[in-house]
């Protein structure tokens, strides 16, 4: 019995030892592959790494058909994804047909993803601006970094005003209340002030260090876009301000038209002197542009050694292609006629027909396999594999656009007729396109409709067409595949997910 009592004692001692260890009732979680947020933002480097998240929100959505390329390009008269009666084509259950015909609904992917482009960027900016402000790290560039993020946020708001009109605004990360919806004019004023207030802190000129980031010329360009559209958006003409902003950029003498139009779109376009506000891409790290999948025919895969799927989808609308003069070098943005492989042999389809792209499309819902010209404006990189996207950096705003905007602002502030200065600015762009002055405009030939056509040719598929058509009053018009549509379609519906999440939001009229 004594022995047993001894055993019991040991037993109790063992139990007591086990219970006395501190971990007995401790349930704190230990992190391994992620960090405790309260231990981050402590150094300049950490602030930079966090800033990256704000910029990264724009990747993919900024150039995807399921994002801004859908809402800003495919929905216009520049492009379409016709329903083809044979072979593969990009269908997605009629999504592209509905988008092109302006049958917008609040549950459409491109509508939701474009919203996310804007508001995920805004939210990331709010968060990083707050965290950098709170960071104990002291470094010289801190105020500049905050200003840069505010400019990025302003660009996202500018995009949201353009697409959705009346949007919620939150500028303070610590404000967790449901954001209130504001009118277009109210948001316009906020964004304008944000940009103007921060101009002085932004990097003055383009530089290698600031490539792909918000600079003072970028802010000028966004302001110019806002002022040019102000009459249409908020009913207040601001053309003089638009001219000032364009002049601010021109007078920097940092930008110029590239002699070769296509240099701005080539695979390695980082050296372009013309691209002002750029979304950098790289197949290794930056997930982005899928033009090769959207527009090429599968038979062309071998030409560029592409092994990812190709969808035979997006082509230029016939009437848009017809805007080009055959001596306009920009017509080479399009693939038309017989296509050849790398060794110069004519390509064929799987049924043996020659691969010949035709500008005409036999019907929006009854297109042939090869109908429509394809876009090669952005040089196709070779060797793209599954899940890889193009390396070409995407220009949101180019210098050529600034010149055309300035001309337009002058014309609009001059009763819709050009001055010689306006004609000169447009002709700079025109002369590059033709390589000579023989196609120059004069004050007599440059009309507003002609300027819209010229903008179309110069900026095809770059994401400006929707805004331009609305500003020029053409958005409701019928075009290939699209009937006349209501004025309410000038704004996209607020996506259903956003409406569900915020009871303060009211859907745009007409949806």
């Amino acid at each position: 019995m004594l022995l047993i009592m001894k055993q019991i004692k040991y037993f109790i001692v063992v139990i007591a030892c086990v219970f006395s260890t501190a971990s007995c009732t401790k349930l704190d979680e230990e992190l391994f592959s992620t960090l405790d947020a309260s231990e981050f933002y402590k150094t300049e480097r950490e602030c930079i790494l966090a800033m990256g998240n704000a910029y990264a929100q724009m990747q993919y959505r900024g150039t995807s058909l399921w994002g801004l390329m859908g809402t800003e390009t495919l929905a216009t008269d520049e492009a379409c994804c016709p329903v083809r009666t044979q072979g593969t084509y990009l269908n997605n259950n009629g999504l592209w047909v509905r988008l092109n015909q302006h049958n917008f609904v609040a549950t459409m992917d491109p509508v939701g993803s474009s919203w996310e482009f804007c508001f995920n960027t805004i939210s990331a900016c709010n968060q990083v601006i707050y965290q950098i402000g709170e960071s104990p790290a002291e470094f010289a560039k801190k105020p500049n970094m905050i200003a840069e993020l505010k400019a990025l946020r302003a660009f996202a708001y500018y995009t949201a005003i353009d697409l959705y009109g009346n949007i919620p605004v939150t500028l303070d990360f610590t404000d967790v209340s449901l954001p209130q919806q504001k009118t277009r004019a109210e948001v316009f004023a906020i964004v304008e002030k944000e940009l103007l207030d921060n101009l002085s802190l932004l990097e003055e000129k383009p530089s290698a260090d600031y490539y792909g980031r918000c600079t003072r010329p970028m802010a000028y360009a966004v302001l110019a876009k806002m002022y040019l559209n102000a009459e249409k958006w908020i009913g207040t003409p601001r053309y003089a301000d638009a001219i000032t902003m364009c002049n601010n950029i021109i007078q920097l003498n940092s930008y110029s038209l590239e002699p070769d139009y296509f240099k701005n779109f080539q695979v390695d376009n980082i050296s372009s002197k013309e691209n002002i506000w750029v979304l950098p891409y790289d197949r290794k790290v930056g997930w982005g542009l899928q033009m090769h999948q959207y527009t090429l025919h599968p038979a062309q895969a071998s030409v560029y050694n592409i092994s990812s799927p190709i969808w035979n989808g997006m082509v230029a609308s016939p009437d848009f292609y017809a805007l080009y003069n055959s001596s306009d070098k920009r017509i080479n943005s399009w693939m038309v006629g017989q296509q050849y492989d790398a060794s110069g042999q004519p390509l064929k389809t799987s049924s043996g027909a020659p691969l010949v792209f035709t500008p005409s499309i036999s019907g929006f819902q009854t297109a042939g396999e090869l109908d429509g010209v394809r876009c090669k404006k952005w040089q196709f990189p070779t060797g793209l594999q599954t899940n890889q996207t193009m390396d070409n950096d995407w220009a949101f705003i180019r210098y050529a656009d600034i010149l055309l905007m300035k001309a337009e602002a002058i014309m609009r502030s001059n009763g819709g007729t050009p001055t010689q200065e306006a004609v000169d600015e447009v002709n700079k762009v025109r002369e590059r396109a033709f390589g000579n002055t023989s196609n120059d405009y004069t004050t007599a030939t440059l009309t507003l409709p002609e300027l819209l056509n010229e903008r179309g040719r110069e900026l095809a598929w770059e994401g400006h067409r929707r805004q331009d058509l609305i500003r020029f009053g053409k958005w409701q018009d019928a075009w290939f595949g699209k009937p006349v549509t209501a004025a309410t379609k000038e704004l996209y519906p607020i996506p259903s997910t956003a409406l569900l999440a915020n009871s303060n939001l009211k859907q745009n009229t007409g949806y």
């Binding site: 047993i4 349930l27 992620t34 947020a37 990360f173 290698a208 980031r213 569900l500």
Partner: protein, 978 residues
């Protein structure tokens, strides 16, 4: 690894004390059954002492005993007997089978009770009642046997697929849906590689009052698996071997080559190019007739002081798909010893398992299903594609034979489970218990697609994955048992510490010089040097800590009471909600012990039970409540370099807590007519509150557009009936039958809480179909298919739909122009089992039926349509039969939602047992599984569906488009005990 195992086994053996017991005057005897056959393993003890022994194979025993002491004989499934020793020279005991199983031991978690003492809803399935045949997972043993427990194998015949288990309906929307599986007290044990022959019984704790002792993990039910223990006496051996094969249940739903040609001629005569001139049976090209082998060898023996059971299990399952297989080797050893005058009892267990898997690519089976039957398999001129016939312009249309040949995907898993359970009898009523276990899973695997794998797009593509998962369980506790003056008290209590750790490593690389390395030289691919390869590691830990106690009381085995509490905390929850209480109480009244019923001859057993219990579900990802920073998947171009972006990992929710279920259960257990008819009926009402769901929140102020939060409430109520009949109980012939009935009704009570900003009124579920298919609405059951109502085909080949809201236009997307056309969940389920024994022959069969559910025939949505035909694919024959003039788009409507009630002959088994001398026996048997199915469902199989509820991928009642074929299985086996 093998060496480690040996060392570990030796260490365990070295722990064992050998005790020498002084001999006393003793008596010998023999225990037999009613037929006079010897019974082995009968527990014989001298009442009031710790003296005891077990009968040997010939039923004999020897035990030290003094005159007028009482001997107690007990054996599971038999009536216990007491006998006062009067000094006989030898004893002959004849034990009777306990009809109605009232003395059966029932595991209730942290202890056992007899069946008559149970007050909760607990179902025990003993080994003899298990489903027969070849199971890829022990859960198959009880499929259809437990009312309320739905077990589905939606992976078809995939030897590496598990079962989906659902108890009493769906009780969560987004948290884990698997029950807590406990093997001999080891939590979260891996069971797929266990030898089914080693399982003694499976207990299912169904209601809240029974399961609440397991607290935050018990909502989906608790399944307790008890493995066989050692036989005492001379070493006994048992061999269980079987060979099985499978056959596809072919229903020729797609066009044959000739039918394909006929369809071209009849409907699209201009498209002769669709006919590629061959006759290929694609499914035959990728499948085979598998031979599956199972070998189990057991040695068991020892003394009461120290005994053991050692087992070696080997399983080799080929699969119907040519390159998939599963090879499992599981050695295990169980040692039990007593010491310190029987005060100390220690059980050790060590299970090691090596599983080599070749994982089948489900896509191969999908492609084989819809591949054009007139296409050849090979095209020798197509050198670029290694001679496989290829349609290069059809994206996503891949040659299944090329897929099969040009891919390798395998995994090598190792499981180790070690367990020690020590109990020390401090007083005769009080035992201290120390239980510790370690349970780990290590896996190394990889895949390789050669450059000829269709659409791989790279020069070879390799992945390698390694995982390590381990959990530790430490549970000190006590057990107090006392009987006095008709009172019986059993109290248990303890502390539980559980820690689970997960580590992962994965790598991907591509662009290899040659395909020879497979994934075994992953560094040699050029994607690494060109910065395109991928690599990742991860680690996470979570913990559960609990204090638990339970008291079970009865008075004269007439009035029963059980009450328990678990105070438990989980590391996964928010700082404000780490800990919670999970109480339970249940009472029982055994009416047959009351005088007014005791005299009713035909009532042998009648018990009423009522219980209430609270359980939780904490099966969500780790760290969700915390504010964390993660490395973003996208990089950022900064000062001329791409650098990482760091982002918040999720919207933090410091209020995150477990889903909480409160359940009422009322039941009756009965046994009539000499217990020839017995069974139970249970009614339950369970309500889960604080349902977890990802709610859309505005961005900003949030960083992400959804927050995981506790909001909704859901209810399940139902009835379960189990009815057993011992129809014939003669010496040569026995016939027993069992019927199970299950009914469950689900309702989502609320889904939103506008006050907290979670304003979800409805949810449209789009399981990767063309449009949404199900509407989740407050006040409605889950699983409602809502579809445009198809009325017919119009003159231009389009569909005519009903204008439900009569507004003159039809908007297929809108719920206003749709109707509820079925529900994915069954109205009721039935199981019917019959077992017969005639002399040396035994025969059993088991039917399983599920009734009233509707399924979305996903294959018809896509392949009862000319569109795939025109693009060169095969289509369903029903295209020609149902709506051949339909040329409209592929879309979801009421056409494709089918009634899917079915009855399956789950298994039939015939056996012949030869009794050999010395209690040895040899049994031969043959079993057929899934021999036939009666159903009006036109798809592959009414069980080829997801049982789950998942917003993003697929949801309940929706078929998988690619699945392993459903098969009939035929098994021949022997069981030799010697």
């Amino acid at each position: 690894m093998k060496r480690n195992f040996l060392i570990a086994a030796l260490c365990m053996l070295s722990l064992i004390w050998v005790q020498v017991v002084a001999a006393q005057a003793s008596v010998s005897g023999k225990v037999t059954n009613e037929q006079g056959q010897p019974l082995s393993g009968v527990n014989v003890v001298v009442k009031g002492t710790s003296n005891g022994t077990n009968t040997g194979q010939d039923g004999s025993f020897t035990i030290p005993v003094q005159r007028n002491q009482v001997l107690v004989f007990s054996l599971i499934g038999h009536e216990s007997q007491e006998l006062t020793y009067k000094g006989e020279a030898s004893l002959a005991i004849r034990m009777q089978v306990a009809y109605g199983n009232l003395e059966e031991v029932v595991a209730v978690g942290y202890g056992t009770v007899t069946k008559k003492e149970v007050t909760g809803s607990v179902v025990t399935v003993k080994a003899k009642d298990f489903n027969k045949g070849d199971m890829s997972n022990p859960m198959g043993l009880i499929q259809g046997k437990v009312p309320g427990l739905t077990i589905t194998k939606s992976g078809g015949s995939d030897p590496n697929a598990g079962f989906q288990i659902q108890l009493r309906g769906l009780n969560t929307l987004s948290a884990g849906k698997s029950p807590l599986i406990i093997v001999d007290g080891i939590m979260d044990a891996n069971i797929a590689m266990l030898d089914p022959n080693q399982i003694e019984s499976i207990d299912v704790l169904k209601d809240g009052s029974a399961a609440a002792i397991y607290g935050t993990r018990a909502t989906n039910g608790v399944i307790l698996i008890t493995t066989k223990r050692a036989d005492i006496g001379d070493v006994k051996f048992e061999i269980n071997n079987f060979v099985s094969t499978e056959q596809i249940i072919e229903n020729n739903r797609y066009l044959s080559a000739d039918e394909y040609r006929a369809a071209i001629a009849q409907y699209y005569p201009a498209r002769t190019y669709l006919d590629k001139g061959q006759d290929t049976k694609w499914m035959d090209e990728v499948t085979r007739t598998p031979i599956n082998q199972n070998y189990s060898f057991t040695a068991s023996g020892g003394t009461r002081k120290i005994n053991y059971r050692a087992n070696l299990y080997y399983k080799s399952d080929q699969s119907i798909l040519k390159n998939a297989s599963n090879r499992t080797i599981t050695p295990s050893i169980f040692i039990s010893q007593t010491g310190l005058n029987d005060r100390l009892k220690i059980d050790y267990r060590l299970i090691y398992s090596s599983v080599k898997r070749k994982l089948g690519n489900y896509g191969v089976l999908g492609q084989a299903t819809w591949r054009n039957p007139t296409e050849p398999v090979y095209d020798p001129t197509n050198v670029v594609n290694a001679g496989y016939y290829t349609v290069s312009t059809a994206s996503g249309y891949l040659n299944p034979v090329a897929m099969l040949d040009q891919e390798k995907n395998e995994r090598d898993d190792q499981y180790v489970t070690g367990d020690i359970n020590a109990s020390f009898k401090l007083l005769s009523e009080l035992k201290l218990i120390l239980h510790g276990s370690y349970n780990s899973f290590r896996s190394f695997g990889g895949s390789y697609k050669t450059k000829y794998f269709p659409e791989v797009g790279t020069d070879g593509y390799a992945t390698a994955v390694s995982n390590y998962n381990a959990n530790y369980l430490f549970e000190p506790g006590f057990e107090y048992k006392k009987k006095f003056n008709g009172h019986s008290v059993q109290v248990i209590g303890g502390y539980s510490y559980y820690e689970n750790q997960n580590n992962g490593l994965s790598a991907l690389n591509y662009n290899f010089d040659l395909d020879n390395f497979s994934y075994y030289n992953i560094g040699s691919g050029y994607a690494l040097t060109s910065g395109l390869a991928g690599m990742s590691t991860s680690k996470s830990i979570n913990k559960l800590i609990a204090f638990y106690a339970r008291a079970i009381y009865n008075f004269n085995e007439k009035y029963l009471l059980s009450a328990s509490i678990r105070h438990e905390g989980s590391s996964r929850f928010g700082a404000n909600h780490k800990w919670g209480n999970f109480p339970a109480v249940s009472i029982g009244w055994r009416l047959n012990e009351e005088d007014f019923i005791r005299n009713v001859k035909w009532i042998n057993n009648l018990k009423l039970r009522i219980g209430y219990g609270v359980t939780g579900n904490q099966d969500i990802s780790n760290y969700l409540s915390l504010s964390r920073i993660a490395v973003g998947s996208r990089q950022f171009y900064y000062a001329g370099n791409w650098i990482n972006s760091y982002r918040p990992a999720s919207n933090p929710n410091p209020d995150l807590k477990w889903e909480k279920k409160a359940e009422y259960n009322a039941g009756v257990d009965f046994g009539f007519l000499d217990n020839r008819i017995y069974g139970s009926i249970d009614f339950y009402l369970r309500r889960v509150s604080d349902l977890l769901w990802s709610y859309a929140v505005p961005v900003p102020p949030n960083v992400y557009n959804s927050t995981y939060a506790n909001v909704g409430t859901m209810q399940n109520k139902g009835v379960e009936v189990s009815l057993n009949g011992d129809i014939i109980r003669s010496k040569d012939l026995t016939l027993t039958t069992t019927v199970n009935y299950t009914l469950n009704r689900n309702k989502l009570i609320s889904f939103s809480d506008p006050g907290r900003g979670y304003t979800l009124q409805y949810l449209k579920i789009n399981p990767a179909a063309t449009t949404w298919t199900q509407l989740v609405l407050e006040g409605q059951p889950l699983g409602n298919f809502m579809a445009p109502v198809f009325l017919g085909v119009n003159g231009s080949g389009g569909a005519i739909y009903e204008d439900v809201n009569k507004d003159g236009t039809i908007n297929q997307e809108s719920e206003l122009d749709r109707r509820v056309v079925g529900n994915a969940y069954p109205k009721f389920e039935l199981g019917w089992n019959v077992s017969m024994q005639y002399k040396k022959f035994d025969l059993s069969f088991f039917f399983r039926g599920v009734f009233g559910q509707s399924l979305l025939n996903y294959e018809r949505v896509f392949y009862e349509n000319w569109t795939p035909f025109l693009s060169g694919r095969n289509i369903l024959k029903s295209t020609l039969e149902n709506y051949p003039t339909y040329t409209g788009i592929t879309t979801y409507d009421s056409r494709y939602v089918e009634k899917a009630s079915f009855v399956k002959l789950n298994n039939v088994s015939l056996g012949y047992t030869m009794s050999l001398p010395k209690g040895n026996s040899l049994r031969f048997y043959a079993t057929g599984q899934n021999l036939f199915t009666i159903t009006n469902y036109s798809g592959a199989d009414p069980e080829a569906v997801i049982n789950d509820f998942n917003l993003s991928t697929a949801t309940a009642g929706t078929e998988n488009l690619s699945y392993f074929p459903f098969t009939r299985t035929l098994t021949f086996g022997i069981n030799y005990k010697f």
